[in-house]
């Protein structure tokens, strides 16, 4: 679709000052001024229309049906949503999603803040190298990360259990309990995203005027005090942005828990780490005849993310005045 745009070239810009006022070319120029901007932004909206808007509308339509992927579709109104509210497994998946989000995001942001602060030191040698290095995990394939971490957290031959064994801790069956599976998954998420968030925070830190620190130094404030009194308050907008990004990612968590559970959509024998996205897939794709219900889960997830984004926005508005 990106190829479709150049096929209609915008009117050529006039070369040199026009000697005669030609009404035709003036019209063209007006047309150009008025409509070609839409043409320039069209590629995004076309792509969004195909891969964003259309699936959303279709999903909403499906969620109002008893929809069999390869069979009949019956309109049932809001029955899927009513059922969703009574579904233990939906609430379980919601708790898991939010739980893993908190377990993963809190340490991740603290660590990212710490790393960003270190990298922000003016007298650090090899600055560029370190800044590049912390970003590397982020460009690693998520599947590769999940598979490797899955092996690290194996029960019988995993490195983590071996290390724990050295200090006298019994082997942990990582995917058999809620807490242990959440921790293992949080490790995968944090490994990939801490560096990314640290870079964004670092950018925010660099935007803080140097003279504030200089003034503080003259007044006798040490590094620690400067961090608390200058860096953190000035960083709030960036920080909220990072939290927002983590929220979107965290609520749609899918690949890590899926591969951690050997590709089973259930996420543990008792759904200890089944996230909303996994439950949506289980109902919407794996189980052919409940595609409508899966679509309802997708919309519930969408609304949930919307609510959390709104809360975030309210927080930003209050803190940044």
């Amino acid at each position: 679709m990106a190829l479709a745009t150049p096929a209609r070239p915008a009117a050529p810009a006039p070369t040199g000052p026009p000697r005669h006022r030609n009404t035709g070319s003036a019209k063209r120029a007006r047309w150009d001024m008025k409509y070609s901007p839409y043409l320039y932004i069209a590629p995004f909206f076309i792509v969004f229309g195909i891969f964003g808007l259309y699936p959303m509308v279709k999903t909403a339509w499906m969620s109002l049906h008893d929809w069999d992927l390869i069979g009949d579709h019956t309109f049932i109104g809001f029955d899927n949503y009513v059922e969703l509210f009574k579904d233990d497994y939906f609430w379980n998946a919601l708790v898991n999603t939010l739980g893993i989000f908190v377990v993963a995001t809190v340490p991740q942001l603290i660590l990212a803040l710490f790393l960003a602060n270190l990298l922000n030191r003016t007298r650090l040698r090899g600055k560029t190298f370190f800044r590049m290095a912390i970003f590397v995990p982020n460009i690693t394939s998520v599947a590769a990360v999940a598979i490797v971490f899955g092996m690290l957290f194996q029960r019988d031959f995993g490195v983590v259990n071996w290390l724990l064994g050295l200090v006298g801790v019994d082997a942990i069956d990582w995917d058999a309990q809620r807490w242990s599976s959440w921790i293992a998954i949080a490790f995968m998420v944090d490994w990939r995203w801490t560096g990314y968030n640290a870079l964004i925070l670092l950018a925010g830190m660099q935007a803080i005027p140097r003279d504030l620190y200089e003034a503080a130094s003259i007044d006798g404030a040490n590094h620690w005090r400067q961090f608390w009194r200058i860096t953190l308050p000035m960083l709030t907008p960036t920080f909220v942005f990072v939290v927002l990004l983590s929220t979107f990612g965290g609520l749609q968590l899918f690949t890590e828990p899926l591969l951690f559970g050997n590709g089973n959509m259930r996420g543990g024998t008792q759904r200890e780490f089944q996230t909303l996205a996994m439950y949506m897939y289980e109902k919407g794709i794996n189980s052919l005849n409940t595609a409508g219900y899966g679509a309802a889960i997708a919309w519930a997830l969408f609304v949930l993310i919307g609510i959390i984004a709104a809360i975030n926005l309210a927080v930003v508005r209050r803190t940044v005045k």
């Binding site: 679709m1 479709a4 008025k34 409509y35 839409y38 043409l39 069209a42 909206f45 076309i46 229309g49 195909i50 069999d68 992927l69 390869i70 069979g71 497994y89 899955g150 092996m151 194996q154 029960r155 019988d156 031959f157 069956d173 058999a176 309990q177 050997n262 590709g263 089973n264 259930r266 543990g268 024998t269 008792q270 794709i285 794996n286 189980s287 052919l288 005849n289 409940t290």
Partner: protein, 431 residues
């Protein structure tokens, strides 16, 4: 965006929409196979998973008929199923002949209109196959959806070196004699645990699958496809025996297909697993060439049973249904089934193929030259018809096995595990 110029925004939106439609219309239907002038297809597409052993047969068919056959393979069934679903749901890329495994066949049978009725397209083969296998290829409305390929049959794969170390017999007939029934199997497991401190069997779920298939009859569904998991005799028996195995501590608690399980074959975490014939290749792959000759194949405790097996079906949307049916007919014939078995091991269902001396005398070099033709072939005749409901696979994998595993890992009590199983069976089994 600014608030002004509402009208032009709409124009732009309409222009974008027109472009979208244009792009969508450009997508062509490239899943079709071409047709030459005479109405005979140039090419047929054959969609399979895992290994059916069709490579040589397909070449022969091309030579005989002049029709090219594109043999597609997908390694794992859980990747294969969504592919078939997608092609049926969208009508794009539909193959001419599709292999359907027992677990997914029943699910697809609930919408028989997706599949061509083969009865008018092929000769009457109804008496040439294991009768129950033939019957399962039919949908509720009577149309013949699939021609039988293979069955799983049941055996036990065991490690001779680990058995020797535990002071157990090593020779396959003596090993079979160790466990005439399931209580005897549990006793053997206890002895093994005493000597080695390890679990004899990989996990309790493989035993549970084997037992449900041995007892046969209704498993999770009755003949009218009502869910009867809570009162079925085979489920009860499998459940109780499985719990006894856990209580006797004879398993290594490695969930099937998990990394622990795959690594366990090499590491000797367990010394035995239940082997339908198609499992032999998986045992071989996981154990690696260095363990060649260490595995052997013995009989199962109790009676024979079936586990897995497939059919060849022709999608209704296919362009060349008559020719596709001919190809399926050719691939499921007696000679083809023996050829496929020799190449990759799927066990014949054609009665003539089962009597073929080439099949009966085959020995498997990886498994200490075990006469797999005789072992599996001999048990095929005793297999009882099993009625698997439309969502058998889902109930087995998403309800029964997780509950058993929760009990095995000590996460749930016996009653809590049972309640979880019955609850999940109801939701997973609904169709």
């Amino acid at each position: 965006m600014s608030v002004s110029g509402r009208g032009s925004k709409l124009v732009a939106l309409a222009a974008s929409a027109a472009l979208v439609l244009g792009v969508a219309a450009c997508g062509s239907d490239d899943g079709d196979s071409g047709t030459s002038a005479g109405g005979k297809p140039d090419k047929l597409v054959l969609e399979t998973f895992s290994e059916f052993g069709y490579d040589e047969l397909v070449k022969q068919y091309e030579k005989d008929t002049g029709i090219k056959v594109e043999l597609r393979k997908t390694a794992q069934l859980n990747e294969y199923r969504p592919k078939i679903v997608r092609s049926l749901a969208t009508g794009k890329g539909v193959a001419d002949v599709v292999a359907l495994e027992e677990g997914i066949l029943n699910e697809f049978k609930t919408n028989p209109a997706n599949w061509a009725d083969l009865t008018p397209l092929v000769k009457d083969h109804s008496t040439e196959y294991l009768p129950w296998k033939w019957e399962l290829g039919k949908a509720a409305d009577g149309r013949l959806i699939g021609l039988p390929t293979d069955v799983g049959s049941l055996a036990v794969c065991y490690r001779t070196d680990l058995f020797k170390a535990a002071g157990l017999p090593v020779e396959r007939d003596a090993v079979t004699a160790l466990w005439p029934d399931w209580p005897a199997f549990i006793e053997t497991g206890k002895k093994y645990r005493e000597k080695t401190g390890k679990g004899l069997l990989d996990s309790v779920t493989t035993a549970a699958s084997a037992i449900t298939m041995q007892i046969g009859g209704d498993i999770f569904y009755d003949a009218e496809d009502n869910i009867v998991a809570d009162k079925s005799a085979s489920v009860k028996e499998a459940w109780d025996t499985s719990l006894k195995m856990v209580d006797a501590n004879i398993t290594a608690k490695t969930a099937t297909w998990s990394p622990e399980w795959s690594a366990g074959f090499k590491q000797g975490t367990f010394a035995a697993t239940f082997c339908p014939s198609w499992m032999l290749g998986i045992v071989q792959d996981n154990s690696g060439p260095e363990n060649k000759g260490k595995w052997d194949v013995a009989g199962v405790p109790g009676k024979s049973g079936n586990w897995g097996g497939s059919w060849l079906a022709v999608p209704e949307r296919g362009k060349h249904k008559a020719e596709a049916a001919k190809l399926a007919e050719y691939l499921t014939s007696a000679t083809s089934q023996v050829a496929a078995f020799k190449l990759k091991g799927p066990l014949p269902t054609n009665l003539e193929a089962l009597k073929n001396p080439d099949f009966q005398s085959y020995t498997n070099p990886y498994f200490n030259n075990a006469p797999t033709g005789k072992i599996f072939g001999g048990s095929v005749e005793g297999i009882k018809p099993v009625h698997l409901g439309p969502k058998h696979q889902a109930v087995k994998e998403q309800a029964m096995e997780p509950a058993l595993r929760a009990y095995e890992n000590g996460e749930a009590s016996a009653t809590a595990a049972w309640d979880q199983f019955i609850k999940d069976a109801a939701t997973q089994g609904a169709f």
